[in-house]
């Protein structure tokens, strides 16, 4: 060995490391050659160019040493793209290797050939691939199966012409489960990119083959099989039952992805089941594995929680007794806490509400401000969902207000406003406590909430006029949301106590119409003014009309049934994490805006009665300024915005404005603006409603209709305007919309002005 150290030292100094490696690669000793190849690979990984050594490295490919062979293959895969001509040097060895006695080497050769994504090699790939697909050894066959997908990816025609697709389809019937699994993986992958979508259609025969292989193949194979099983449409309830029975054992797998894939199959097949007893049994079996997923790494918990959220919307009977496991630990990452909180609310019922309330109260004393706010909102949602518990919730909220922690107080007031809307006339006794905190409010939504309460209960609050007066001092400086509330509250006050407040209302309307540029505020002031001056009775009927309470079925955080079903079909995908169809955030951006709209239109069909003709057709004017069919986009808003609200971080990227998701982000922005921009001509609850979404729309629209019937005096034009305004008030109002929308707003201030213009036109 010593003899060699001298020249090595010498070459090292003169020609650099590559020259030295060159010598080593040609060494007569196998060990030295192997070490040299290892060094070549090491250099390659750190980015040094060792492509010059290609012929020497490839020469070492012909060896019985498996490790050496693999190293050479690694090198080949890396440099094949940059040296396509040289790859041909290796082809002979590859082809020879696919005939090797050792199945491992045959498999390795065919696998590597497939990974060298160079056209030239394709000519030489087909023959060996054909052989390997028919190999006696299952290990070789399973490797070859995947190789067909690689070939397909580069040249579909060649794969079809050579009959590989058919052979692959036959492999689904292979006797070895692993081969079946790989054939399924390859076919599913090819199906996705095939033009006619006829590469892999799951029929009864294929389904049975897959079920037979399911138990025996490894975890990744199981995921693939379960994913493909979900595509199958059972003929009847009986068949669906038997599939479910075969899938249930997969819930007991340690791999979370297997569990969730099995849950997807079960959730889809549940639709076909007609046997209630069986269905209930199945649902019972689904809970424990879902709970167990929560003991995994936080990322796995996150995906699980987002999916559990969907599952609960579809099947509220799952996990009924397991609310405890969703309680947050203080060191859970914030994204996990947020999702747990959502689930806790979904699981809230009259039996566990006390337990949940004390838990939420605990959260409200944590340090993470965002989480504290969400916890307080959650208390409000408890009160709205469970009537019997509303008093306890209010008491908890009062306790929180007494902490005098500023953001806690503000959030609590916003929440209490919603409780007032749900249970009118029930908790007026707490109004004085709320008013004590008047001076500490600096957030528009909290301020607006308190002003709304004062306006709504003006007749019971002795010093209502003083309070309003107090707020009016800073009228011009206020955020438009607060201005709108003040405007409405003042009009309410005037209608309820005309004697005390004539002067105030006059002053407010004058200021609003003359000094405020915001068209929202200004126009509403005009509407009020005209109403009051033409027919005070009509004004009363409009402004003080009885508002429909917030619906228990808080539609804001519920997905539309159409979208929900689509997402259930996609449990354990990115779509299920985003709660959006994959087309809105993935892949071909050029089409995605279109896809968004399509999805929205499809959804809108579900909601047809809710939207009504009127709203769809009226805003034709803004359509000219916006790129495409705005109405469809607006529709989309509603569905698009309902999920990023609960997870604001996930709102689509905002970097370049041409891409699809961004388009929807713009829309979003509009939605948030509209919601904050108010439009609640009828009593001023729209802008800050806690619950709404589609439900909100519904309320708004119906209301406007009933209104227009009531008031004969109002011109038909203005009543139409009300309809629209009220309708749009429903857009994008979600409990946590504020945080999400504020973020988006700050990022893109320019858009909000166009939004205002749009609103103006409405």
């Amino acid at each position: 060995m010593d003899i060699f150290s001298k020249p090595k030292f010498f070459t090292n100094n003169t020609k650099g490391e590559n020259a030295e490696l060159l010598v080593e690669l040609n060494s007569e000793y196998r060990d030295r050659r192997k070490d040299a190849v290892k060094r070549v690979i090491a250099n390659m990984t750190v980015g040094k160019d060792v492509s010059g050594l290609f012929p020497q490295v490839v020469k070492n490919m012909q060896t019985e040493d498996l490790e050496m062979k693999k190293l050479v293959y690694l090198y080949l895969m890396n440099y094949a793209k940059s040296n396509p001509d040289l790859v041909i040097l290796a082809v002979n060895t590859f082809v020879k290797d696919t005939d090797h006695v050792n199945p491992l080497i045959r498999a390795l050769a065919i696998r590597t050939m497939g990974c060298i994504r160079v056209d030239k090699i394709l000519d030489h790939l087909c023959e060996p691939l054909r052989k390997c697909l028919q190999d006696d050894n299952p290990y070789v066959r399973k490797t070859a199966a995947l190789c067909v997908a690689k070939l397909w990816d580069l040249d579909q025609e060649r794969a079809i012409d050579n009959g590989f697709v058919t052979t692959l389809q036959d492999l689904v019937s292979d006797s070895t489960p692993m081969v079946v699994a790989n054939a399924v993986i390859a076919l599913a992958e090819m199906q996705e990119s095939s033009v006619n979508k006829d590469v892999f259609v799951v029929n009864v025969a294929i389904m049975n083959k897959m079920l037979a292989a399911l138990n025996e193949c490894n975890e990744w194979g199981q995921i693939a099989i379960l994913t493909s099983l979900a595509e199958y449409q059972p003929l009847d309830s009986k068949e669906a039952e038997s599939v479910c029975e075969r899938v249930v054992p997969r819930l007991q797998h340690a791999n979370g992805s297997v569990v969730l894939s099995a849950i997807r199959v079960l959730m889809i097949f549940l639709r076909y089941l007609r046997n209630d007893e069986f269905t209930n049994g199945l649902i019972k079996k689904m809970s424990p594995p879902l709970v167990s997923l929560l003991a995994s790494a936080p990322e796995v918990q996150y995906v699980s929680l987002r999916n559990i959220n969907l599952i609960l919307q579809k099947r509220p009977d799952i996990l009924q007794n397991d609310v405890r496991v969703f309680f947050c630990k203080y060191n859970d990452p914030p994204y996990v806490k947020r999702e747990k909180l959502e689930i806790i609310i979904r699981l809230c019922n009259d039996k566990n509400v006390d337990q949940i309330l004390s838990e939420l109260k605990e959260y409200a004393s944590e340090v993470d401000v965002d989480f504290v706010r969400r916890a307080i909102r959650a208390i409000g949602r408890c009160a709205i969902i469970i009537e019997e518990a509303s008093e306890r919730c209010v008491n908890v909220l009062l306790d929180l207000i007494n902490t005098k922690i500023n953001y806690v107080v503000q959030e609590a007031i916003i929440v209490i406003k919603d409780i007032f809307r749900k249970y009118p006339q029930r908790y007026e006794a707490i109004i004085p406590t709320l008013c004590q905190n008047l001076d500490s409010l600096d957030e528009p939504e909290a301020k607006g909430s308190l002003i709304w309460i004062v306006g709504e209960y003006a007749e019971r609050i002795e010093n209502a006029d003083e309070l309003i007066e107090n707020f009016l001092e800073t009228f011009l400086e206020e955020n438009s949301q607060v201005q709108l509330q003040l405007l409405t509250a003042t009009v309410k006050l005037f209608l309820k106590k005309p004697s005390q407040s004539q002067e105030i209302v006059h002053r407010v309307l004058q200021t609003a119409t003359q000094e405020i540029d915001n068209p929202d505020t200004r126009d509403r002031a005009y509407v009020y003014w005209r109403l009051l001056s033409t027919d005070p009775q009509a004004a009363k009927a409009v402004v003080l009309s009885e508002k429909p309470p917030i619906s228990v079925d808080s539609s804001a955080d519920k997905l539309s049934p159409g979208l929900l079903d689509e997402l259930i079909n996609n449990i354990s995908t990115l779509a299920s994490v985003y709660h959006k169809p994959a087309s809105t955030f993935m892949g071909n951006k050029a089409f995605s805006a279109d896809a968004v709209r399509k999805a929205a239109v499809a959804d809108a069909r579900d909601e047809e009665q809710i939207m009504g003709e009127d709203t769809v057709t009226s805003p034709t004017a803004p359509a000219a300024s916006a790129p495409k069919n705005v109405m469809a986009d607006l529709l989309d808003l509603d569905f698009g915005s309902s999920e990023p609200v609960s997870t604001p971080v996930m709102s689509p990227p905002t970097s370049n404005s041409k891409s699809g998701p961004n388009y929807s982000a713009d829309l979003f922005d509009m939605s948030s603006d509209m919601s904050s921009g108010g439009s609640d001509a009828f009593g001023g609850m729209g802008g800050m409603s806690g619950m709404s979404g589609v439900g909100g729309l519904n309320i708004g629209f119906q209301q406007s209709q009933s209104q227009s019937q009531n008031q004969n005096t109002a011109t038909s034009g203005s009543s139409n305007a009300f309809g629209d305004l009220a309708g749009f008030g429903g857009f994008g109002q979600q409990p946590s919309a504020a945080t999400a929308s504020q973020q988006t707003q700050q990022q893109k201030p320019t858009q909000s002005s166009t939004v205002n213009d749009l609103l103006d036109l409405f």
């Binding site: 490790e67 793209k81 696998r111 490894n218 979370g256 709970v291 990322e299």
Partner: protein, 389 residues
């Protein structure tokens, strides 16, 4: 399809990248780093762990796992099962741990070639291929020195030379022709207690997560049946591939042909009732004044069947604004280092104790004639165990 993997250092530099499909340019890492630092700039208390595990970029969905200072980033261009990606990404450090004893930037750099070979074996064209450590060790040899250590420790001893890869025997997880001079099998039952305890000592939520880690050194094709005294305790469980699920469903016994060497036979979860007697009681009393606060925490032993509780560690995170801190302990020692919401993290360990009460009854061996040495150890320790003050 998992197209690519980037392993990033704590500073966001690429340590290794691997592309199983098309090449994804490194730019994506810059975008990712920007998003991470943006997220962390949102609040004082935001740490790297708080960054969302799925981040959208204009072209890719950046799926990432952060573990021990390293980021495992997988950008995907097509709809994918994120759970699968996470499971797979977690396997990478798991396997490196098995191979190198630890995972860090330096360790990866020192073992570039092995890591590359592993990544190549673990995935084929974006689909996970071989991820079982036992099978991988046959295909990719562990680094030499460690190999020796492992040999002396007995993980891969006198097993006859194998030519067939795992996927080729009748049982994919067990190779043929295993032979030991002394046949033995060990079960380690480790229970981790996840609990939230309120200030009165009542458990708000409490569950035990147990695993049965098995080290099998048995010759031939042993067929084992392990039964428990009280299997009904288990609320949910998952098994190693080798366990016959039907047998568990019908008889509540574990029937299996074990793989050779170390493997996790079973994981289970037991929901513990809120009146559960927890092994230790932590009673905090906190007085916050204008110029400081005093925390008195009393820890007392309860219900351990006379087994000693070891390695008790209490962590009381304080707010960042804390300036000075003194800590005293009656027993043991304390470390003071200056986060609020007074929650106390608790760690402890109790040997030969199972809080859930799960007990192994008998292990029976069929199909082979030898009598193996059998060993069972149990241990209970705190998992995510917190006391609210």
């Amino acid at each position: 399809m998992i197209e690519s993997l980037f392993v990033l250092s704590p500073t966001g530099k690429v340590i290794i990248e691997k592309h199983w499909h098309e090449l994804i340019p490194r730019r994506v890492v810059d975008f990712f780093n920007d998003q991470v630092s943006k997220a962390m700039a949102e609040g004082e208390d935001v740490t790297r762990e708080d960054v969302l595990p799925i981040i959208a970029s204009p072209k890719y969905q950046l799926i990432n796992v952060y573990r021990d200072g390293l980021t495992y980033l997988s950008p995907v261009t097509k709809e994918v099962d994120p759970m699968m990606v996470f499971e797979f990404l977690h396997r990478i450090p798991d396997i490196m741990q098995e191979y190198f004893g630890q995972v860090s930037e330096t360790v990866i750099k020192e073992n570039f070639v092995t890591v590359y070979q592993l990544l190549e074996e673990m995935m084929d064209d974006g689909f996970p291929l071989t991820t079982e450590p036992n099978s991988l060790k046959e295909i990719v040899p562990a680094p030499n020195i460690l190999n020796k250590v492992i040999t002396t420790m007995g993980a891969t001893t006198s097993v006859s030379t194998r030519k067939m890869p795992h996927g080729m025997s009748n049982l994919p997880w067990r190779k043929a022709g295993v032979k030991y001079n002394s046949n033995e099998i060990f079960f380690d039952i480790v229970e981790e207690i996840d609990a939230i305890v309120d200030s009165t000592g009542k458990a708000v939520s409490c569950e035990a997560h147990g695993t049965i880690q098995t080290n099998s050194r048995l010759s031939g094709m042993p067929d084992l049946t392990l039964s428990f005294v009280n299997p009904r305790l288990v609320d949910d469980c998952s098994f190693h591939q080798s366990v016959r699920f039907n047998k568990w469903e019908s008889d509540k016994v574990l029937s299996f042909v074990p793989p050779d060497g170390h493997f996790r036979l079973m994981s289970y979860r037991v929901n513990l009732p809120s009146q559960q007697n927890l092994p230790i009681q932590v009673k905090p009393s906190i007085n916050v004044g204008a110029n400081g606060a005093k925390f008195d925490i009393t820890v007392s032993l309860r219900n351990t069947d006379g087994k000693p509780v070891e390695n008790v560690v209490l962590t009381l995170p304080l707010h960042k604004s804390t300036t000075t801190l003194t800590a005293q302990c009656n027993v043991g020692h304390s470390e003071a280092a200056a986060n609020a919401g007074y929650n106390i993290g608790v760690e402890f360990l109790i040997n030969s104790h199972s809080l859930s009460g799960l007990k192994v009854d008998v292990l029976k061996l069929f199909n082979e004639s030898y009598k193996p040495y059998k060993g069972v150890r149990t241990m209970t320790k705190a998992g995510r165990y917190q006391v609210r003050a």
